[in-house]
């Protein structure tokens, strides 16, 4: 976790009220895992005041794996990250108006990520709405690992990806993971129904690990599906945050068992599906 200035490379509309932000900075903040996030301060004024959290939807770091030095003083490696976000209020509106070349104050990588499936598990990925952001990163990272491990593993299992949108007109113009099934509420594109419906009819019979990010009712349904089928599941939750680093206790989510709360920022945002009471009032 570091605080750093990031440069905006691109800030493009990808759907009605959705944007993709490309950021770049001198490496050194650490490499994010899928599911982790950054907080950004969209302006230096006091209104809007608080930083906003954004999950990584992609990341490219230094090619240090090739045995090259990670950094040199004359030409530090640049990290590049993509964040998919929705314009919801004043802060995201301001962010959407920042042009390439602008700089934003960033803190990250923050929180706990999705982790990865075991070699014999089929990863099943379910996204709803803007929740697709971190899942793009997860699907890409799973694919990259599969490539890297191909020598060791005979037949690596491809993930099943189902992404839900309200209708065809809201499909984002962004590359979706290979083979992703598009689900729409009104059937105007792809499968008519929710990703949960699709997965419950098309899920593999073997060992499976479920990943999800989307609105709370969807996460609740995914948690129930995982419990029914006996799948381990990792779900990414959303909650209002003030600090983003675990200090303020603002982003509480009710625990599934016993009294008490977990912090979306530091204990999550990705949790085991059994850890949270997904039906508690958000």
């Amino acid at each position: 976790m570091k605080q750093f200035d990031a440069e905006i490379l691109e800030n493009r509309p990808i759907a009605e009220s959705w944007r993709e932000l490309l950021l770049s900075w001198d490496e050194g903040a650490g490499e994010p895992e899928p599911g982790q996030f950054l907080t950004l301060r969209a302006s230096s004024f006091s209104d809007p005041l608080l930083r906003r959290p954004f999950a990584f939807s992609g990341y490219t770091g230094a090619p240090s794996r090739n045995g090259l030095p990670a950094k040199s003083a004359s030409a530090p490696w640049r990290a590049t990250a993509s964040l998919v976000y929705q314009i919801r209020g004043g802060a995201t509106r301001l962010l959407s108006e920042l042009a390439p070349g602008s700089r934003v104050d960033a803190i990250g990588p923050l929180g706990r990520g999705f982790g990865f499936p075991d070699a014999d598990e089929t990863p099943v990925i379910a996204g709803g709405g803007i929740g697709l952001g971190p899942l793009l990163f997860l699907a890409a990272a799973i694919a990259e690992r599969a490539m890297a491990e191909r020598a060791a593993v005979e037949a690596r299992i491809a993930p099943l990806v189902a992404l839900g949108f309200r209708s065809a007109s809201l499909l984002p113009s962004i590359a979706l993971p290979e083979g992703a099934v598009v689900c729409t509420d009104d059937g105007s594109a792809g499968f008519r129904g929710t990703p949960v419906d699709w997965i419950s009819h098309n899920a593999p019979s073997g060992k499976t690990r479920l990943y999800g990010c989307g609105p709370l009712p969807m996460l609740a349904a995914l948690a129930e599906l995982a419990a029914e089928r006996g799948w381990p599941a990792r779900l990414s939750a959303e909650q209002w945050m003030a600090c983003g680093v675990g200090a303020c206790m603002g982003c509480a989510l009710a625990r599934a068992e016993g009294a008490g709360y977990l912090r979306a920022c530091a204990d999550g945002p990705v949790f085991d599906s059994t850890a949270i009471d997904w039906r508690a009032r958000p």
Binding site: Q3, S46, L49, A242, G244, G246, C248, M249, A252, R281
Partner: protein, 312 residues
């Protein structure tokens, strides 16, 4: 001329007048990767209560115009866990450590302080992990204790006196602005033997979701903080500083050095940065730098000399 930044609160010498407010900085370790925490004058811990408190249901926070509303509900691991897990870390701090204490009855406040007294040893500043106490009689987000103590001068005086009897460490009473006259409560704290008062805690506020026709926060009301409350904090500080002889510690909406200087001019001996840390973890250190530069530029030798410069 290099100004002297150190300040003394009830005999506790802080290397500089800028502290990190209770409830915004955990117990310190959360921000270690982002700033040099030991460079601040004092770290005021998240409130400690006898029993562990899970805190209030969510949502607990919502942003407001130039501020935020919170209803955390004094979520903390309780004194047992504080002594076992937090106090050892706090002993390693080079800044002053002020333990914020809360309770729902007078006895609970006393018990927290007794337990820390026996664990932290004699009141020698530095290395004990608890150099002073800040008594939270002003939390708006709990049903018992909190505000109900802090709005009644008699209760404040009695509680302060009872605490005075069991500790020689500096006692700082944290005051609420949710009263008709903060001076009455400041006087009561002074009469009970407090070494300082800090003001202000948050203002009671509410945000209603018009679409859902219900309050946004699960508990309905919460405490307002951030730049929106700064003028209230400065006025309370001004009033308290003209009423009591003990030092006043100012907080409420400090985001930059000028904001802190308003509090010093209003009569504060020290300040705390709270919500500002959420917005920028480096806020307190920026404030400190700016205050030092201002003192140099204005040829002010000591922090306590700033208040005399106010023309009113």
């Amino acid at each position: 001329m290099k100004p002297s930044l150190s300040v003394s609160i009830g005999g506790l010498v802080m290397s500089n007048p800028v502290g990190l407010a209770s409830g915004t900085f955990g117990y310190g370790s959360e921000y270690d990767q982002l700033i040099d925490v030991d460079s601040v004058g004092a770290l005021y811990t998240k409130a400690v209560t006898i029993e562990p408190r899970p805190g209030n249901p969510a949502p607990r926070i919502v942003e407001t115009p130039s501020g935020m509303l919170n209803s955390i509900g004094l979520a903390n691991p309780g004194i047992e866990s504080f002594l076992a897990e937090k106090l050892p870390e706090l002993r390693l701090r080079r800044c002053a450590v002020v333990v914020n204490v809360a309770g729902s009855t007078e006895e609970e406040y006393l018990e927290v302080v007794r337990r820390i007294e026996s664990a932290a040893g004699p009141g020698i500043p530095g290395g004990s992990g608890a150099d002073a106490y800040e008594i939270n009689v002003s939390c708006p987000n709990v049903r018992h204790g909190g505000l109900s103590f802090g709005t009644d001068p008699e209760q404040v005086e009695r509680l302060t006196r009872a605490l005075r009897d069991i500790t020689t460490r500096p006692l700082i009473v944290k005051l609420t602005p949710n009263v008709a006259d903060i001076a009455e409560i400041a006087k009561a704290a002074e009469a009970g033997g407090a070494d300082a008062v800090s003001c202000i805690n948050t203002l009671v506020g509410m945000v209603i979701d018009v679409g859902k026709k219900r309050p946004v926060l699960a508990m309905g009301k919460g405490g307002l903080s951030g730049p929106a409350v700064r003028p209230v904090g400065v006025a309370c500080c001004y009033r308290a500083a003209r009423t009591v002889r003990i030092p006043v510690i100012g907080l409420g909406g400090i985001m930059g050095a000028d904001d802190a200087l308003q509090y010093f001019l209003a009569g504060a001996r020290a300040v705390q940065v709270g919500t500002g840390t959420f917005v920028d973890p480096r806020c307190a250190l920026r404030v400190l730098e700016g205050v030092e530069a201002w003192m140099s530029a204005n040829s002010v030798a000591r922090v306590e000399d700033i208040a005399a410069l106010l023309e009113d």
